[in-house]
């Protein structure tokens, strides 16, 4: 007879088999990190540069430069680049974060030699042709206009202004900002922020040695730049701002507060507090606001790490009529964390859940490569994740209460709401008991 009412015993994740994070080779002075797997069919090369939005002098510049890398480079026109990339079934992508930008190629290992000259040209000798730049601005402007109709982007921009407004990380853009970008701006930013000397290279999949040989064959040593991302901490204004969006059915809410950094002794406890509050499907916010009240399709919190600053964000979209009630519940859940110790069962659950998440980073070569990249880009040592895992298992209910009291006071959050008409004074409402 099967006993269906009793849960099978659960085994804990004890250690993580973290791959080594030492550079396996160098391209001139630039470190190359690699993780090979001959059972794969694909190979991926990723190169990061200190070229994120935090480094731009004009808004939208960092993303314009990244997008324009593929619009003509070396001896290839924009059309030739897209033709060759598609012909060899290669994905060449650029991505921009707050601190760094990434250029990557992913393709069948058997096609890497064919597409590599194109990839090398994109990274080393983009041309930024004028016609393509005008066309890019037109497309990007149109797509930004469409996105500005979304409450989540409106809340994001307002949040950025209030949270990052007094730092280089503020994202403040509008469609007409594209008009202020010139070819000179692109070239200057590229010259100062895309030097090979400042890059880091990550290679993964099948045929990593061939990939490294190609890098050495095609990459010239550009003049050293030693550009370094400066530290700059935001100075959030506090309180909650509101941006009206007529006729919206839902409101987007975004709240943020400074977080401990990964190096802090109490970071495992902070991280678990985040998980309990809003870091997974079973979190208190999700259970309360989605599963109990049905106000939203989803709500969550996450911790983000900039070069020298970490912060926690809570975000959701809720039915407009539930905006106030949602804020009230968020406040209530935080206050519960501050005043009532977490039960052992819930604590054990999130400990195991976080351990499982960490284990997921080992799922296949490309996930392992992503983990190596995170460790290198954030200066985490090879034993960091195992220490973090042990730290997670030793967190106590008292520590979580302590963290919530010291670091998550609701009145210290800075927030933004975008949604339909709602002219009450939100700040006043929330500060009342």
């Amino acid at each position: 007879m099967i006993s269906r009412t009793v849960a099978p015993p659960v085994k804990k994740v004890i250690t993580l088999n973290i791959p080594p994070v030492e550079a396996v080779d160098h391209l001139y002075s630039t470190p190359i990190f690699a993780i090979g797997d001959e059972s794969e069919e694909l190979v991926k090369i990723e190169i990061t540069f200190p070229a994120g939005t935090g480094e731009e002098k004009k808004s939208l510049l960092a993303s314009a430069v990244a997008a324009m890398l593929t619009e003509g480079a070396g001896k290839y026109t924009a059309n030739q680049i897209s033709e060759l990339k598609d012909f060899y079934g290669a994905k060449i992508q650029t991505g921009v974060g707050k601190d760094n930008a990434t250029v990557s190629v992913l393709c069948l290992s058997s096609k890497l030699r064919d597409i590599f000259p194109v990839f090398a040209a994109i990274v080393q000798s983009p041309k930024f042709p004028e016609t393509e730049f005008e066309a890019y601005k037109e497309r990007a402007r149109a797509s930004l206009k469409v996105n500005l109709d979304r409450v989540e982007l409106q809340a994001r921009l307002l949040f950025s202004e209030r949270f990052f407004g007094y730092s280089k990380y503020a994202e403040n853009y509008a469609p007409d900002h594209f008009d202020q970008l010139s070819l000179q701006d692109l070239n200057d930013f590229y010259q100062s922020n895309y030097a090979l000397a400042d890059a880091k290279i990550f290679v993964s999949g099948k045929g990593v040695n061939d990939a490294i040989l190609l890098l050495k064959e095609y990459f010239a040593d550009r003049e050293k730049s030693f550009f370094e991302i400066t530290s700059e901490n935001p100075n959030p204004v506090g309180g909650i701002g509101f941006r009206p969006k007529e006729n919206a059915l839902q409101s987007a809410i975004r709240l943020g507060i400074e977080s401990l950094s990964r190096n802090a002794k109490e970071y495992p406890a902070f991280s678990l507090t985040n998980t309990i509050l809003g870091g997974y499907f079973g979190s208190r916010l999700m259970q309360n606001i989605r599963e109990d009240k049905g106000y939203t399709y989803g709500i969550g919190t996450s911790i983000n790490h900039l070069k020298d600053y970490s912060y926690l964000i809570a975000s959701t979209q809720v039915g407009a009529e539930h905006t106030r009630a949602t804020l009230r519940e968020i406040k209530r859940e935080i206050s519960k964390l501050q005043n009532e110790p977490v039960g052992n069962e819930e604590l054990e659950l999130v400990q195991n859940y976080v351990a499982g998440l960490l284990l997921r980073n080992m799922d296949g070569t490309f996930n392992q490569a992503a983990l190596i990249k995170t460790m290198v880009m954030n200066g985490l040592s090879g034993d960091y994740y195992n220490r973090f895992l042990n730290g997670i298992y030793s967190v106590t209910p008292d520590q979580i209460m302590d963290i919530a009291q010291k670091h998550l006071g609701f009145e210290k959050f800075t927030g933004a709401i975008a949604g339909p008409g709602y002219d009450d004074n939100v700040d006043q409402f929330l500060s009342s008991k």
């Binding site: 099978p8 794969e40 059309n79 149109a142 106000y295 998440l357 080992m362």
Partner: protein
């Protein structure tokens, strides 16, 4: 290549096991062959609402998510017009937890009134967040009924309207469960570093005594292919004019399916495709333009979707698209162009085989279509296609009625 072994339990449950030694994570994927196509026209959105209820606890286990999370796992699900897919990933040592939970909700779902109430609200918020509160969010709610007059693909998985979700009763829920959530209508796929014999033994333990039931036979007529064209214009507060063209194509099992898929790639997959090259890069009539197929089991759609540049009129945009289709219908694509879209199929297949979960989903999907082996061989069908065959299916678009949905900016 995804190696696997296939078994069928006495109750009809099909089991596929793929051994992947390069991961500490195991994926448990359960596909039920039921989707929005199986709904009655008066009660749409039901398969999807039901998917939400599957997480509200089952007969012997009050909560589904918590035990999975406690075992270090994650789970989720999605519904489309043809099937509903549930998946769990967790440390391989804890696979038993996945079997315990997944088999219990296959055996007997605990039907709670409160669960239904809450999920009804959550789905209505999802309707808002993903469809009604998004610019151009009603696209599929509008385009489907234009394209399909007969077949249940005429409604989206979220349902025809919020009203249908509000009206769902517990009675409906129970009937739906009895009809479709049975081992004989399911495919269970395991991917991870597991011993096949051991896992099969555990599956027999947890699933072996679940009784099968008979799936209702729906004799759906295929959507007829007609010459009737239809145009609809939506005036909305949107930032940009948009244009969508859709044609009925063949069913998934038809040999022309692969030709239509490659046709859509040549026309509008990527920057080097014909539509993008001509109308986005060169003439700049559009700021975005792409072509794709819906990939459904019954007759699907081939769709061209574009965002028009400021000041460009819908008629002009449509005429330019049609002339590019005519070019292709009058002359076969070059060898190189055909090779290009075939290469893309091969690299996309490799990309779809990274990570244990994708492999499990892939095997389940192809088994539902008829044979999990096709997950490893479907590319051959693409590689066989010749240039003139792509030319021929392009010609078919010109003789079929096109359904055209226009988004027009409100004059402000």
């Amino acid at each position: 290549m995804i190696d696997f072994e296939k078994f069928t339990l006495d109750n009809g449950l099909r089991v596929l096991i793929h051994r992947d030694k390069n991961t500490p994570i195991v994926s448990v994927n359960t596909l039920y062959k039921v989707g929005a196509r199986d709904e009655s026209p008066e009660k749409t959105g039901f398969a999807h609402l039901f998917e939400h209820l599957m997480f509200s606890g089952s007969k012997n286990v009050p909560d589904f998510d918590m035990p999975i999370q406690k075992a270090g796992g994650q789970n989720n699900a999605f519904t489309n017009n043809d099937f509903t897919n549930y998946y769990i990933t967790l440390p391989k040592e804890n696979i038993e937890t996945a079997f315990w939970l997944e088999s219990d909700r296959m055996l007997d779902l605990g039907f709670s009134e409160n669960g239904l109430e809450v999920q009804r609200k959550v789905v209505i918020e999802e309707f808002g967040q993903r469809y009604l509160n998004q610019p151009y969010g009603e696209l599929w709610l509008e385009l489907r009924p234009m394209a399909y007059k007969v077949h249940p693909y005429q409604w989206a998985t979220i349902g025809k309207s919020v009203k249908h979700i509000e009206d769902a009763t517990m009675e409906d829920v129970k009937t739906f469960y009895q009809d479709y959530y049975s081992p004989s209508n399911a495919i269970l796929t395991i991917s991870g570093d597991v011993e096949v014999d051991h896992v099969l033994d555990r599956i027999a333990h947890w699933y072996g005594d679940i009784p099968p039931s008979k799936r209702p036979v729906l004799n759906l007529d295929q959507e007829p292919i007609t010459i009737e064209a239809e145009t609809k214009t939506l005036e909305r507060d949107v930032a940009q004019n948009a244009l969508h063209l859709a044609w009925i194509m063949c069913e998934r099992s038809h040999p022309d399916y692969f030709k239509f898929d490659l046709l859509s790639d040549i026309l509008g997959n990527g920057k080097s495709s014909r539509l993008h090259r001509n109308l986005v890069t060169e003439s700049r009539l559009f700021t975005q333009l792409s072509a794709y197929i819906t990939g459904s089991i019954d007759r699907g759609l081939i769709v061209i979707s574009g965002m028009l540049s400021e000041g460009v009129d819908h008629d002009l945009g449509r005429a330019k698209i049609m002339s590019i289709i005519k070019d292709l219908a009058s002359q076969p694509p070059s060898e190189r162009e055909v090779e290009k879209v075939k290469n893309k199929v091969l690299s996309q297949k490799a990309i779809a085989e990274t990570g244990s979960l994708y492999k499990a989903m892939n095997l389940s999907y192809f088994e539902m279509l008829g044979d999990a082996n096709d997950a490893n061989h479907f590319q051959d069908e693409y590689l066989k296609v010749r240039g003139f065959e792509i030319q021929n299916v392009a010609g078919q678009l010109l003789t079929r009625g096109v359904k055209e949905l226009r988004y027009k900016k409100n004059d402000q």
